[in-house]
């Protein structure tokens, strides 16, 4: 793809999300979502392999159907209230339509099936866009939406997706599928927290995006697609062992790392709102997440596999990354943020 075309498409994707986030008109929101989806479709199939195109097709179909559902709900809303504003109280039917559409977009549990397949079919960098940037707009809408009054329709799918995310990832050997299922589980956490606190959900979203970005960039740099490839990390790039380990544990929520705030904020608000039994279910789901995070960490750092060892002491080699490359810069910044930034979460509170 030509650079000017891809730049144009990227700008369109970004502007679509910005349109969605900054508008309060359901129609404009639909337009923004469609814009970013349509611009993303050519980006996703830039590799043009059969797997790539298949994933792209799936993505397009799911997004199209969810956009149709969203437009349907928005039209109903406009018909009932005579206004396109998202601040108007929602009818039950339109709210169901809208929330199902948004759940489709972010891959919440009962409608999550497309997400692992799409992510598995794409390279890491395109997957990064799907797993992070494309989630911002629908999630922000979802957060607004959960403020509008009802929550059972969001709480049930969120609980299910926390559990599904855990179970789905347990049996996987593909790193991208594992990341997809962990993303499903984390979406559950985000949405369920948004039912109680908008600010907390925004903070969690920011932290989750940072951690996920650093993880995708790391795996992209290391070209690791299955768990079996993880053992080569220690030979190719020794420092990445520590990075993958820390970022993985951070995603799981180990206390001194940034990801702890993700779980801590959420659980704090849930428990403060007497959400104790269900939050224990969520913790169980998260423990299963944690199991496969630990599996990745162990395979990366602690195991010495019998096969594929280049030589017994070649860990002394190191891949040299130019420190000025934007990807290296981005991944190093996001890795530092995703592991050490607990004290920086206070400004997040102040901003939101």
């Amino acid at each position: 793809m030509r650079q000017i075309v891809s730049t144009f498409l990227f700008v369109t994707v970004v502007s679509g999300t910005i349109i969605v986030v900054s508008s309060e008109n359901w129609f404009i929101i639909w337009v923004g979502l469609e814009l970013s989806t349509l611009a993303l479709v050519p980006i996703l199939c830039s590799g043009f392999s059969p797997r790539n195109v298949e994933a792209d097709n799936k993505y397009f179909l799911v997004q199209a159907s969810s956009a149709a559902l969203l437009l349907n709900g928005a039209l109903g809303q406009a018909w009932l209230t005579g206004s396109w504003s998202i601040l108007d109280p929602v009818n039950e039917v339109t709210s169901i339509c809208l929330s199902i559409a948004l759940a489709f977009k972010i891959g919440l549990a009962p409608v999550h099936f497309w997400f692992p397949d799409v992510l598995q079919g794409l390279p890491f960098f395109q997957g990064l866009i799907i797993a992070t940037w494309q989630k911002i707009a629908p999630l922000i809408l979802m957060f607004y939406f959960s403020q509008l009054g009802f929550s059972y329709l969001l709480i049930t799918p969120s609980l299910i997706s926390v559990l599904i995310g855990g179970w789905g990832g347990l049996n996987q050997t593909q790193v991208r599928k594992i990341l997809a299922f962990s993303s499903i589980g984390n979406m559950g956490w985000l949405v369920i927290t948004s039912a109680y606190s908008f600010n907390a959900a925004i903070i969690m979203l920011v932290i989750y995006l940072i951690i996920n970005t650093s993880l995708f960039l790391l795996f992209d740099h290391l070209k690791v697609s299955t768990l079996g490839h993880l053992n080569t990390i220690s030979q190719l790039s020794p420092i990445s062992v520590a990075l993958v380990l820390l970022v993985m544990l951070s995603l799981g929520g180990l206390p001194p790392l940034t990801g702890f705030i993700l779980k801590f904020t959420s659980l704090y608000f849930l428990v403060a709102n007497n959400f104790i039994i269900l939050s224990s279910i969520m913790i169980i789901g998260n423990l299963q997440d944690y199991f496969f995070y630990l599996r990745i960490s162990f395979n990366t750092s602690l195991f010495l596999f019998p096969q594929h060892i280049i030589s017994s002491a070649s860990w002394r080699n190191s891949t040299i990354i130019s420190p000025l490359a934007p990807k290296a810069w981005l991944s190093s910044v996001s890795t530092v943020l995703s592991t050490l930034a607990i004290p920086l979460t206070l400004p997040l509170y102040i901003i939101t």
Binding site: W114, D117, Y152, I164
Partner: protein
């Protein structure tokens, strides 16, 4: 414009901490020729970054000289801030940098407190560490990995300063744990040595027991006072809660673990497996006093219940007696000094027990100087005798090592001769003990320990310097090394002057009304001890002592063997329940045999949905959404 002294002090101290943090990351360059053919074998782990083949010399990046220079600057800065405090009566400066965990009912913040305790401790620690760093540059030159050594020492100092200056319990815990961990790394410095690694393990495990206490204190104070800040905890007027005994128990356990009080003491002598500078820095002057320092900081909690006082008093007294009685029968020079440290720690805890935390702190400061100096002297002797540590092989060294031997005598005298550092604080503690209405045993134990102190101090002097030379190897080193002499002489100056300086200019030591007998005790008792020592030395050199008492003092009252065996037996007996009913019983059925197959089955079920056909995906999505909707309508209607 008026500059307030508190501004100067806080900016100086924050600057010191920041510079220390930064200095960990720097090297300084040094050159050495590569004449040694076997050189790559020795230097496998060293940081040799580049080579200049033409000049036949390699550039080595060593952090030692840099650390020395930095510590020198920081020591002067800290003395400056101390002098500013001297002139202006500043109680304490409380600095809150930022919240640590926000949005919680618990107040967890990065909170520093710069009070007189910290300021004095900062100067003492920096001066002592500077001297020890210089000394270790002399002592560790032949070590293959010496650069990392200096860096570890710096990191340790940073942790120690964080521990002493922080107001937040979490930061205190950070410094506490950091000190323990660095001590683990430094004890097992000679990693190939099995004794070193087992000693390091022992230290870490004992510190864990102490940590149970600190964590108990943290958790209970978070529960009780809704704050992790020491100032809040101490100033809250809910002191008389039912949880107070547990809080105090936690504190005493923590202090006993860190400061090696009786029962948790075996790790301190075991620490001598580390290099001598480590013993000098961590295990005599700074890290081991952390427990006492914690007690000093929290001494206001001890105000009400008297039984705690007498418990602490007896704990300290027992430690002092135990360590002193053990020290008189040891033959390893470092071990004697280590047990003397334990004994002095016991004395500090005794001072806490009689309700005089300021005296305990005074003793910490003076003790740091002369104990570090004693360890450096022993290090000098050991280095000169090419790693010989046994007292029996050190005879007549005073001619060969004049500076070291005079410093060694000075350090030994510091505890019993008037006008030297240790005497100021020790005299005050003994006076306070005899002037307060407390347990009789406390004063008896501390007086006996004082007597034994004189005995073991003079024993070192006697063995090292008065016997005829008996070292097996010829002298390989001389003490004409600036790094050694400067460090020793600086600490000697501190040993002479610090007691006078602190007691006259900084602390306002309380005065006691005591009888003349009690006043004279600290002076009389050591003389009796020395007399007894010479009597026994004359009688015991000719034939062997087979008595149980001698064996008991030599083998540390048999504490280690008896306790290890009983702990192992007890835990094996208890493991009958845990192992047979849990690990091999129902826990196995539920846990490994239960959860794993269940989640595997569930995982397989959820995986069955992932068939890769988008039509079925959307269909099953819609179907499950409809099911959820129908169910929720049913339940809600």
């Amino acid at each position: 414009m008026v500059i307030s002294p508190s501004l100067i002090i806080s900016s100086l101290n924050l600057g010191i901490l920041t510079i220390l943090l930064g200095s960990i990351f720097f090297f300084s360059k040094s050159y050495f020729s590569k004449g040694n053919v076997n050189f790559p074998l020795i230097k496998t782990t060293s940081a040799c970054l580049s080579v200049n083949n033409d000049k036949e010399e390699t550039i080595e990046y060593n952090s030692g000289p840099f650390a020395m220079a930095i510590l020198k600057v920081l020591a002067f800065l800290s003395v400056l801030s101390l002098l500013v405090t001297c002139n202006n009566s500043i109680q304490s400066i409380n600095i809150t940098l930022s919240l640590w965990l926000s949005n919680t009912p618990l107040n967890i913040s990065l909170n520093f407190i710069y009070d007189q305790y910290f300021l004095v401790f900062l100067s003492v620690a920096l001066i002592v560490t500077w001297s020890i760093m210089e000394f270790s540059f002399y002592y560790m030159t032949e070590d293959p990995n010496s650069s990392a050594f200096f860096r570890l020492l710096t990191i340790f100092l940073l942790n120690m300063l964080i521990l002493t200056c922080s107001n937040s319990l979490f930061l205190i815990f950070l410094g506490w744990e950091g000190g323990g961990f660095l001590s683990f790394l430094l004890i097992s410095w000679w990693t190939t040595r099995n004794d070193a690694s087992s000693s390091a393990l022992e230290a870490v495990i004992t510190n864990r027991i102490g940590n149970i206490g600190l964590i108990t204190f943290m958790a209970l104070s978070a529960l009780n006072f809704n704050s992790s800040n020491l100032t809040n905890i101490l100033s809250s007027n809910e002191n008389l809660t039912p949880l107070l005994p547990f809080l105090l128990f936690g504190l005493i356990l923590a202090a006993a673990g860190k400061s090696a009080q009786f029962g948790l003491h075996p790790w301190l002598p075991a620490l001598l497996e580390g290099p001598t500078p480590v013993s000098a820095l961590l295990h005599s002057s700074t890290m081991v006093v952390a427990g006492v320092f914690l007690l000093v900081r929290t001494s206001e909690l001890f105000s009400s219940p008297l039984i705690t006082h007498s418990l602490v008093l007896i704990l300290g007294g027992t430690t002092a007696l135990f360590a002193a009685s053990t020290a008189i029968a040891q033959h390893d020079i470092k071990k004697i000094i280590a047990y003397s440290t334990t004994s002095q720690l016991g004395l500090m805890v005794t001072a806490i027990g009689i309700g005089q935390p300021a005296l305990a702190f005074f003793h910490i400061c003076t003790h740091a100087f002369f104990k570090a100096m004693l360890f450096l002297c022993s290090g000098s002797v050991i280095h000169s005798l090419s790693d010989e540590q046994d007292l029996r092989k050190m005879g007549g060294l005073s001619k060969l090592l004049p500076v070291t031997s005079s410093c060694l005598i000075l350090g030994s005298l510091a505890l019993m001769a008037p006008l030297l550092a240790g005497f100021y604080s020790k005299d005050l503690i003994l006076e306070a003990t005899s002037a307060s209405v407390l347990n009789l045993l406390g004063i008896v134990l501390s007086i006996v320990a004082t007597m034994l102190t004189a005995v073991y101090s003079f024993r070192i002097i006697f063995f090292c310097f008065s016997l005829s030379p008996s070292c097996s190897s010829p002298f390989s080193h001389s003490e004409e090394n600036f790094n050694l002499n400067n460090a020793l002489l600086r600490l000697a100056t501190g040993t002479i002057a610090s007691g006078w300086f602190f007691s006259n200019l900084l602390f306002a030591p309380p005065s006691f009304n005591v009888t003349s007998l009690a006043k004279g005790t600290p002076l009389i008792v050591p003389i009796i001890g020395v007399a007894a020592l010479f009597m026994s030395l004359i009688s015991s050199t000719s034939n062997s002592i087979g008595s149980n008492a001698h064996s008991a003092t030599t083998s540390q009252w048999f504490f280690v063997d008896a306790v290890h065996l009983s702990i192992i037996t007890m835990s094996l007996a208890l493991s009958f329940f845990s192992s047979r009913t849990l690990d091999r019983g129902w826990q196995e059925n539920i846990g490994p045999q239960g959860i794993a197959p269940t989640s595997t089955a569930l995982s397989k079920i959820s995986q069955a949905g992932q068939i890769g056909l988008i039509k079925r995906y959307i269909l099953s999505s819609m179907a499950s959404v409809l099911v959820i909707l129908a169910l929720s309508l049913l339940i809600l209607s």
